[in-house]
Amino acid sequence: MSAAASAGLFSRYGRRKLVNYVFVTLASMATAVAIAALVMILASLIMKGFGGINAEIFRADTPGGGGDLGTGGLRNAIVGSVMLCAMGMVIAVVIGILAGTWLAEYGDGNRLAGFVRFLNDVLLSAPSILIGLFGYELVVLPMHGGSALAGAIALAILTTPVVTRTTEDILRLQSNQLREAGMALGAGKGLVIRAIIWRASRTGLVTGGLLGFARMSGESAPLVFTNAGNQFFSWNVLGATASLPMTIFYFALSADENWQRLAWVAALLISVAVLSANIIGRALARGSQHK
């Protein structure tokens, strides 16, 4: 192409430049849209969430309807959510790490392992409402009622695939030299895994746990059938307890202004927990990469 032909807007080169310019603009606008959406959502969350916080939030339990604006708190919901997450995390982490270890360490060349990996992904992407349905059939019906235990089991079913996945990925990253060194010292395979490989992937395993925690605390659909809620404060794991997501589910869909205020505060609390877990997890992952 000679220099003369590249002059002018409607020359071939000019057209290509124009198309490129339009494209760059569109791509930038797309990013701007995403950032704008983020800003709008966070702004609503922060304004309505922080705006609704008062001294009562951590001291009082969820109020009945028709209360004056500013009454009531979320104490029972917060404690319930903490209980659910703690129990669910224990189950999910134990089973997830063991299963992930099996896939990574004992699963090579094993067709069963490929099958299990695939099923793990299916469970990972299963709609959470169906897991709640399963939890209802499995735990609530035999126990004649919803309970925090049932909710924790449903949440654990939801989270275990995440932990399994990240555990397998992390363990596979460890160099085989570590394993060979351990075995050369006379350790059996189990001890090599427990004493050496797990210890070396500590950070990654914690990251997996945090990501699982982030997924668990943001989910509410499994709780609808397993642990619907409780007006009062309760430590009883064999009975239903309040929880932040279910509180939001009831309060947000009502027309009671005090309840809507509390729903925004609960949403803010959940978001803070989830986002902190995400940020800490990614920071840990990045930190361990730099080592």
């Binding site: 290509r16 430049k17 198309v19 760059v24 569109l26 791509a27 930038s28 797309a30 990013t31 995403a34 950032i35 983020l38 709008m40 959502i41 966070l42 089973i95 063991l98 299963a99 099996w102 299990v116 990996r117 695939f118 099923l119 299916v122 469970l123 299963a126 709609p127 959470s128 409402i129 169906l130 349905l133 399963f134 209802y136 059939e137 499995l138 399994t164 010292l185 006379g186 350790a187 059996g188 395979k189 189990g190 001890l191 427990r194 605390s217 989910e219 509410s220 609808v224 059938f225 619907a228 997501p245 939001i248 589910f249 947000a252 809507q260 729903a263 949403a267 989830v274 986002l275 995400n278």
Partner: protein
């Protein structure tokens, strides 16, 4: 494993051979292996249990209504007549629309981050996208219900409604549109939810294109647009489609965000501004309160249909993506 006379302290120091001739260390290893295996089997059993409970629960409805179940849009608890067409159509339409909105935006964001973004703000933009992915779904539902829905109702639905002459095309287009809680706004919320996920995957895929390919294209004088559209996107085409299917799978299964803003109407939607329902929102709303056994079975059958749809999507995605990305 041979017993060494000089051995490191701890479990592998063989003390006493038990009667079966297996050292304690070996036994511990076997126990550990069994533990790991049983954890993996437990996972499989859970999935199997899920599938079986769906089939058992949904069988009465499916056998009673037969194929009609998928095409009828009746939902009459009085007459115990149920048809899944409304929720199925709602699920498919919201997922499809949300992908329609999200995909161009996601590709745009990924391309922006990889090609055009100034290095100084790249970390922040990437973090913003990750933050968007981290917001819990129920918060999206609330934002849709309290912010997007009313705005949409006041600024779009209501003016259109008031302006529509009876019998005009506009009125037919609007269908039964009446509030900000409708299929369109639900799709918008879903799109915002799925967007960061697809954008992140696309960004990683674009970053996996070898540098020499890109440099060769630039060296030939291609504009960035041409590099992206003619070289990079075709390079990752197969994995990209897989990523799209994964995003679709997430959009299909989302419950909470949609339940808040879809309007909960079982009628077959006549316009995208109609209220509708998805399979997930129907189950969430009605399961605890379904009074007859056939009603419960119909809901579980809906769950089975949803499971089948998401499973198929995931399987196709896996095939396209290969083992690494999913």
């Amino acid at each position: 494993m041979a017993e060494a006379a000089i051995a490191p302290a701890g479990e592998t120091a063989p003390q006493v051979k038990d009667l079966r001739g297996i050292s304690r260390a070996g036994r511990n290893d076997a126990i550990f292996h069994a533990l790991c295996l049983s954890a993996a089997m437990l996972l499989m059993a859970t999935l199997a249990g899920l599938l079986i409970s769906l089939i058992i629960g949904g069988w009465p409805a499916l056998s009673h209504f037969g194929l009609k179940f998928f095409f009828s849009s009746a939902w009459d608890p009085v007459a115990d007549d149920y048809g899944a067409a409304g929720p199925i159509v709602g699920t498919l339409i919201t997922a499809f629309l949300s992908m329609l909105f999200a995909l161009p935006l996601a590709i745009g964001i990924a391309v922006f981050l990889v090609e055009f973004c100034p290095k100084s703000i790249e970390r922040w933009v990437a973090m913003a996208v990750e933050l968007l992915a981290g917001i819990p779904s129920i918060v999206y539902g609330m934002w849709g219900l309290f912010v997007l829905g009313p705005w949409f109702n006041d600024h779009v639905i209501l003016p259109l409604r008031l302006a529509a002459e009876p019998g005009s095309f506009l009125e037919k287009f609007l269908g039964n549109a009446s509030s900000g809680s409708n299929i369109f706004t639900a799709s918008v919320i879903l799109a915002i939810m799925v967007l960061p996920f697809i954008a992140t995957v696309f960004r990683e895929l674009l970053l996996s294109v070898p540098t020499y390919v890109r440099e060769a294209a630039y060296g030939m004088g291609c504009t960035p647009f041409e590099v992206v559209s003619n070289i990079m996107l075709p390079y990752i085409r197969k994995s990209a489609i897989g990523a799209v299917m994964l995003g679709l799978g997430r959009a299909l299964g989302e419950t909470m965000a949609v339940t808040f803003i879809i309007g909960n109407s079982h009628a077959f939607p006549t316009s995208i501004f109609d209220s509708g329902s998805t399979i997930a929102s129907t189950i969430a709303n009605e399961f605890a309160e379904a009074t007859t056994d056939m009603h419960v079975s119909a809901l579980v059958a809906l769950g089975l249909v949803l499971f089948a749809i998401t499973f198929t999507t995931l399987a196709v995605a896996r095939l396209l993506l290969g083992k690494e990305k999913a």
